[in-house]
Symmetry: C2
Subunit: 294 residues, 2 copies
DNA sequence: CCCCCGCTTTTTATACATAAGAAACATATG
DNA sequence: CATATGTTTCTTATGTATAAAAAGCGGGGG
């Protein structure tokens, strides 16, 4: 019933580990591999067994050595390493953003399960978790309603985002000079400049940098509710922009420059400057999102 | 498999409806009852059938009349009207707040299911929904961790709450004189004064009034994320104070007075005053909560 | 002893089953 | 023909089953 995606992912990761070792070298212990792969020993053993069966690993008395270099084609395909629940997420996002769903559409668990080819339990579980993004709503003893990826969604999202980011930026600026975050913000600036220099080729890398940047600022004064809200933002940008690639390069370039301005403002410790830079960035991000929705 | 709690709740509600009617009177149509009871016609028919079987209702040619007054003891007990998922919520809260769980405790789906006497599916679904309250966290392929009802939980909660309430209070004060909310706030004041006058007997009613008051202020400028956060607050107050009744009367009296001060501030439209009243109330609420945790 | 490994037990992820409830359709009656 | 009731179909709420993964246990070797 349960899929063996954990095993397959671990198997692929194990290939990478073996490739860093020499032929004939002795493998780390099961426990060491367990930590490296981030799975249980049970799964490690399954991976080792699989590799032995393929001759990649040879078991000698009380030790295991590398018999032959694993080839890339022995890796399991990416899809098979995703848990069903993760596949459902992708399917659902696609369903939603493809435009099959307009605001007010009723969501039917059974139908989605059929469409995605999975059990209803999983769809149900996904919808329950997805609820926190504010895009769907449950009705007692009936299905769900899709509230729509609308302008008001974007506005409400950014209202909160502004509160949270302004709060974090201010707290950030109040940190003492000796704090390690100033080093981190320096390297963050470097990463931004690097990306900017090569923007034509690498503009797609921005999304991840963006998320890291905002999380760095937020992390100085941890608050679980703010962190949880970051997930909402990440989801929106991750999926929504996957389906709206218009002006992506230009959009990202603007955002990078805004980030750089905010970094400078933070380093100045000048609250007024920080507020302005922060608000400017958020306003432009909001306009971009609104623009892409309409 | 599914429990018939919906039917039982509707049955009880139906008793209340019948009691407002005269003996021998004709009942409303199935469709009318459907709206009144807030269930499907299928369930209405089941209720009607049940009442016919008990002689409460007599079916004549194309009409149904009330045969005899239903007695209160014919009601289904409250527990049987709660869906399993709701029962699980109560059980879990009890488990959590009884102190069986200290911060860092691992939560085991199977064990909880056994303890509560329900299927694992339900426990799992509950935990997924409960995650949004920030008290538990999931670990991949393993169970959940209870993060604890700790001081930092309270502090993080109130940090957000302050942001949200200040925002709403300000927007509230900016509403034009003609807005109906000023009437509502008036009757809210009346309700507070009434409760205050009878505080010794009715101090337990405060919790619900508190929730209504804060929701009224929040509702003027709807934001789904703020509304969702209100659920967190409601949950905390609902359950936590059920287990910490120390000084309840005094606590509630203080809070009522603070609400009245805030109402006055709102009506003055003076932002500085509003900010102060709001912050005062939240600070005292926070201290109370912190106090009860320690 | 302490770590490694083979084996056993427990728990989670996922599928499937079914009664209760909702919705849709059909028929009747005024 | 519109509204109320009878009937059928579809969906949700909840239980059970099971393979995969995790956790626990005990012996053996350094």
């Amino acid at each position: 019933m349960r899929t063996d995606t954990t095993f397959k992912r671990a198997f692929n990761d194990m290939i990478d580990i073996i490739r860093t070792l020499d032929l004939g070298a002795e493998l780390p212990s099961e426990n060491a591999l367990r930590t490296q792969l981030g799975v249980s020993r049970t799964t490690v053993r399954k991976v080792l067994a699989g590799m032995s069966a393929r001759g990649i690993i040879i078991s000698e008395a009380h030790k295991r050595i590398i018999g032959e270099r694993p080839r890339q084609q022995e890796r399991y395909p990416k899809e098979e390493t995703l848990a069903i629940s993760e596949q459902v997420e992708t399917s659902f996002m696609e369903w939603m953003l493809r435009g099959d769903a307009c605001p007010g559409t009723e969501i039917n668990e059974t139908e989605l399960a059929r469409k995605f080819g999975v059990a209803t339990t999983i769809v149900r579980e996904f919808l329950n978790r997805f609820q926190k993004y504010g895009l769907i709503e449950k009705r007692q003893n009936a299905g769900w309603v899709f509230k729509g990826f609308t302008a008001s969604f974007a506005l409400e999202l950014f209202e909160i985002r502004e509160m949270f980011e302004m709060r974090s930026a201010r707290l950030f600026a109040a940190l003492p000079d000796g704090s390690p975050v100033w080093k981190q913000i320096q390297s963050m600036r470097a990463a931004h400049l690097e990306l900017l220099a090569d923007i034509d080729a690498r503009f797609q890398d921005f999304s991840e940098l963006d998320s890291r940047f905002h999380r760095l600022i937020t992390a100085v004064a941890p608050n679980r509710f703010i962190e949880s809200f970051q997930d909402v933002i990440t989801m929106v940008f991750h999926y929504h922009y996957q389906w709206n690639k218009r002006d992506e390069r230009a959009r990202n370039e603007v955002a990078i420059r805004e980030h750089l301005a905010l970094i400078e403002a933070l380093e100045s410790r000048n609250i007024a400057l920080i507020d302005r830079a922060c608000r400017l960035h958020l306003t432009s991000a909001r306009e971009t999102l609104l623009h892409s929705i309409a």
